[in-house]
Subunit: 370 residues, 2 copies
Amino acid sequence: MAASTLTEVARLAGVSPATASRVLNGSARKPGQDIADRVRQAADSLGYIPNAQAQGLAKSSSGLIGLIVHDIADPYFAAIARGVQEAAREQGRMVLLATTAGAPGDEKEAVAAFAARRADSIVIAGSRSARTEDSKGNADLAAELDRYCRNGGQVAVVGHPVVGAAVTEGYHVVEVPNEELAASLASELAASRPDDDFVIIGGPDGLFTSDDRVRGFQQGLAEAGRPPAEVLRSSFNRAGGYEAGLTLAARIKAAGPGGKTGQGNGVHGKARGLCIFAVNDVMAIGAAAALRSEGLRIPRDATIAGFDDIETLRDFRPALSTVHLPLEDIGRIATRSAAGSAAAEADAAAAPSPPVTGRVTLRRSTEMAS
Amino acid sequence: MAASTLTEVARLAGVSPATASRVLNGSARKPGQDIADRVRQAADSLGYIPNAQAQGLAKSSSGLIGLIVHDIADPYFAAIARGVQEAAREQGRMVLLATTAGAPGDEKEAVAAFAARRADSIVIAGSRSARTEDSKGNADLAAELDRYCRNGGQVAVVGHPVVGAAVTEGYHVVEVPNEELAASLASELAASRPDDDFVIIGGPDGLFTSDDRVRGFQQGLAEAGRPPAEVLRSSFNRAGGYEAGLTLAARIKAAGPGGKTGQGNGVHGKARGLCIFAVNDVMAIGAAAALRSEGLRIPRDATIAGFDDIETLRDFRPALSTVHLPLEDIGRIATRSAAGSAAAEADAAAAPSPPVTGRVTLRRSTEMAS
DNA sequence: CTGATTCGGGAAAGCGCATTCCCACTGCAT
DNA sequence: ATGCAGTGGGAATGCGCTTTCCCGAATCAG
């Protein structure tokens, strides 16, 4: 028994397919009450389910939203995905998921696949990369997006625009003030940790999100009259944080065995502590785990801060200082800004994009030594 | 500029649409080399992207996999989703996401939507419910799945079968040995905590996953010669765990202020500790947070264990004793078992479904008191 | 009571592609 | 030279639905 079709419903109801279509799916023309009832009854007596593919083909629009993330199991992306999902539901659309591990080549393919499915809009979350080895991929991606937009697609990018993207029509960017927030974090940290040296654990060079946060942090430090922090680069995940954490642990132990009151490193008689800024929470957690595994305690032997304020990580102890980002809202905003209708564009003109605001959140992991 | 069509490509290449179709998409008949080249060249000079909707309509199959979860931001589901996504990629399909907060009514709608999109298969993760208020929704869901399967769809359910599902054709269940594993956990805990009383923090009555784990744990306790544990019911998330944790904290403090050596509660002169089993990690973390907020320490004032071994929570301290579940594999297995082909069915006959195995993992949170 | 409008319904033309059928042609054996 | 299968390409049909166009009937003004 194959799924029943509109034609069958129409026949059962004794009307034409055109009429059946008009009553079953929102059409401008409303058939008479009695006919409508007959059709509707026929429809659910047959268990009729409209074929979305055929509908899509006929009106060339699919009710699909494409979402591109690096990794859906990463809580950062999962949170954004939740927002996207919610907004999609509001719009009566479904979300199509693609994960790419951040490879622009894969992202290009994902965009092509979405385009093939005639997705109404595409949301790209996850940091853009400016690394030279990605430049080919980025160019391809930009071209693909270009084409997609020219064919009427709407795309929203979280964070940084895609490198080399030329179109403006239908291309939206949800700005995340990474740099400013990182600067604020730095300045608050500088104030609360007057005697600490700072070090940054960053992601790979060229990752915009990472680079912005590093730059902002350095700037905040400079404004507070602090010297620039050293930057350790590693991968943008827990493992990267852990690795960098091991390096730092060794250094801390070498500098002051048994605590920071060892053989005074610094011109003042007073020993200097170390404050670590990891460019995201997951890396911070990794670094913290590394320190702990080396017998170091936080915030006693070093202090640490992250970025994102991942919900699942809030129960981590010592509570992680970080910058809160409304991840779910970001997903929602991105999805809405790519909702692509005349109304939406009018709105967009009025409010180019509801600004994303974060908040520095200092917690126990950078608390003053008692 | 609308997206170019196969016909345009064919015209440019000077061949018929049929031929173009044959070269551009895997067809049994391979046109001649020269023609193939011409077509391919025409295709990418036009930036041709096949219209998946039309393809789907024509061959009635969409290359889509529907995934139903309660909440994509929940790390449990996010992990499963990752597995599903990977398997989908292997199969050259894309995943369509639906979140339902566990409401059978929403799940039914999601299935209908997937059916409308002619998804090749559907993976349902997330606990089934047997609560009476859900019985109507469950029946509807079962009916919808039934219809979907009869129309050739493949369904894989993680954990428990949908209540009332009648079809067998195309209906797969990935069994998760919740009960057995919970029993093992109980027996190991009983051995390592000989002097503890046990208490269980469960989800709402009627949630299969929760009920299975509760039942298994009780059984394990019984086999170890321990009396049944009291069961506290609350919601299946962190908040629920937190709430139950507060209740328990009050109880612990009342029983033995300042530690468990207070006014001896028990026939032996020796005070008894409390070992808490929360039916999932997230609840366990919530309960732990509640205890901590009440000034209690783990494992000193109480010990606690969870279930799932959520990756993001592994850095939690004290490290949480739990039951490891290969979440990602589960997603992968479910997706593969619903891959729905003759070959897959032959495989399925050979290996009904690659068994999911978990592992009791005792860590610091239930460590022997020193 | 007639002519100009609506109004409600049906017929039919695609949407973009896969696929079946058909045909012209080649190569081979007879 | 003639018949045969085999091969490679094109014409045409249909997937299920939307939508334009058309037409008969009903409504209204004059």
